[in-house]
């Protein structure tokens, strides 16, 4: 029996307090968040609005010319519903200028470049508003490594980081996000017709059940077979987790001195706040 259902009232309360506390105590005035038109960014933005009010939340839609047209409409729908400002910044000129030098680049390479371009814009705009970049990566993506390193994986704080995708759906419904946003198939929208679940080769529901038992319940892959989960799929998921461990860590430093950054120089991030 796998129960991934969450107490949505409790979780929304905690995450709202989290955003308010971590933003205000470091002296920031708000957050900027990339609004893709998908459920994760809509939910992150919603939590930020609950925490800080709409005036403190800036949404950025950063379409590429091949992005699905309805994505921008969905981003505008989210911004309108949350009463937040939505800046629309096209990334086609710089992306096309760059890849004119590399016409052979495959979709993955192009998608990663776009994700990092968006990150670079989010950080630029955040500095002009004394705001923090709000993350939109859920726990399923983080564990599967389904994100671009230093792209969508880069942000100052991330309210969704301990929620599996199936739990993101629960919370989004609880908080009344538009059905059009909640019910559409998840997509990174890095190229036309992309689907997360087609990319991954399994559904989030399958992955989340496996991840929950492996990570939260600390069961071994063998023990998951006893629960009736497909051993081959368990192996695929577990290998993805292992192969993407580097994405969840700061970069490596070769230890030379008696006290080294990232190793034994250990101060809390909220030091002095």
């Amino acid at each position: 029996m796998t129960d991934l259902s969450i107490n949505t009232e409790l979780v929304s309360g905690i995450l709202t307090k989290f955003v308010r506390d971590e933003v205000l105590k470091v002296g920031s005035k708000g957050v900027v968040v990339g609004i893709s038109g998908g459920i994760d960014s809509a939910l992150s933005a919603k939590l930020a609005v609950e925490a800080l009010g709409p005036a403190a939340v800036t949404g950025l839609a950063m379409p590429y010319r091949e992005s699905t047209a309805s994505s921008l409409e969905d981003a505008q729908l989210v911004a309108a519903q949350l009463s937040i400002e939505l800046m629309v910044i096209e990334i086609s000129p710089q992306i096309d200028a760059y890849f004119s030098k590399f016409p052979e680049a495959d979709p993955t390479r192009r998608g990663n470049k776009m994700a990092r371009e968006r990150m670079s814009i989010l950080y630029d705009i955040s500095a002009t508003r004394s705001a923090l970049v709000l993350g939109t990566s859920n726990k399923s993506e983080l564990l599967l490594g389904y994100s671009t390193l230093w792209g969508d994986g880069a942000h100052a704080l991330n309210p969704l980081g301990d929620l599996y995708k199936t739990q993101v759906f629960q919370l989004a419904r609880h908080l009344g996000l538009p059905p059009r946003i909640v019910d559409k198939p998840p997509s990174a929208d890095l190229f036309l017709g992309q689907s997360d679940e087609a990319d991954l080769g399994f559904t989030y529901e399958q992955a989340d059940r496996i991840l929950f038992h492996l990570i939260d319940e600390r069961r071994s892959p063998d023990e998951l077979s006893d629960l009736g989960l497909d051993p081959l799929l368990v192996r695929v998921v577990w290998q993805r987790v292992q192969a993407s461990q580097f994405k969840r860590q700061p970069s490596l430093i070769a230890k030379l001195s008696s006290r080294s950054v990232g190793q034994d120089f250990r101060y809390p991030r909220d030091w002095g706040h």
Partner: protein, 290 residues
């Protein structure tokens, strides 16, 4: 007559500034002075209230000594009343303890060094801190002159029932439980946070089985994404909640304790009288005559 014997207590559920000893000290002294002015007899703060919890390498940097200026300021702010504050205490041997210090009537009356330092999962206390090795009861005249037998359990100490049992054998009638409990467990099956449910069950069990008052003072706010959930409360010696639990935000919980409640609870349910310490001792192979 009974009214004058009541102990007026304040549980200060707050969010310390992580690693800023002076800011927390100043704020705490103001809180204590304000409460004492308003007639509070005992002001209780959460675990590590002067420092914050996830200190890591800050631990030795924000430590204080028993003879240092910080405790002098707290003693002065407390005046004739009493207070319980949480801090990192540095020993002459340069060990650092997670300590709760009970101040009363111009002096430090009791220092409890946390015995159980959690070092698993999200916790890393043994990396930075030395462990205490005893649970002791101190007898103090508080609130209209009634004599109270006070024991202190800091957070993880509560997760070991022998801690409360030893204090019970030492005659405790008021357990003070400062805490910095990070919340986890948000499954829909529970009506509340998993950690809140665990503490609720433990506190009630200790209050009811040891027929003692239990004052639980947890903190609020976030440190590095860890969420402290509040829920400070006072339970009576029959296990019922007399005040609180507070919501998950900064607040002060006021309550009045009547020591007569302990007497009544122990007449109604003489569990401590009937405790078979001889059986415990024999089975554990310690002390005992038979």
């Amino acid at each position: 007559m009974a009214a004058s014997k009541r102990l007026r207590m304040a549980l200060v559920q707050h969010q310390p500034v992580l690693g800023d000893l002076q800011a927390n000290l100043l704020w705490s002294c103001e809180q204590i002075a304000g409460e004492v002015r308003d007639g509070t007899d005992l002001v209780v703060f959460p675990e590590l209230s002067l420092t914050g919890y996830f200190l890591k390498d800050l631990t030795p940097e924000i430590a204080v000594t028993l003879a240092g200026p910080e405790l002098k300021q707290l003693i002065e702010a407390t005046g004739r009343a009493s207070s319980l504050v949480g801090l990192v205490l540095e020993s002459p041997q340069f060990n650092f303890y997670n300590a709760a210090v009970l101040i009363s009537d111009g002096a430090v009356r009791q220092v409890h060094r946390k015995v159980y330092l959690p070092t698993y999962g999200m916790f890393d206390e043994q990396r930075y801190l030395a462990a205490g090795d005893r649970f002791e009861v101190v007898e103090l005249a508080l609130g209209g002159g009634a004599s109270w037998r006070i024991g202190i359990l800091v957070c993880e100490d509560l997760w070991h029932p022998s801690s409360a049992y030893l204090l019970s054998r030492a005659g405790v009638d008021l357990l003070l439980c400062p805490s910095s409990s990070p919340g986890r467990g948000v499954g829909s099956g529970e009506g509340e946070l998993g950690s809140a449910g665990s503490y609720g069950a433990m506190l009630r069990t200790y209050a009811e089985l040891f027929t003692v008052f239990v004052a639980y003072c947890n903190r609020v706010g976030f440190e590095d994404g860890f969420h402290f959930w509040g829920g400070s409360r006072l339970l009576g010696p029959d296990g019922r909640i007399l005040a609180g639990p507070l919501e998950d935000s900064a607040a002060v919980l006021h309550a009045e304790l009547d020591r007569g409640d302990v007497r009544r609870a122990r007449i109604a349910r003489p569990l401590l009288r009937d405790e078979r310490i001889d059986v415990v001792q024999r089975q554990l192979g310690i002390g005992g005559d038979d």
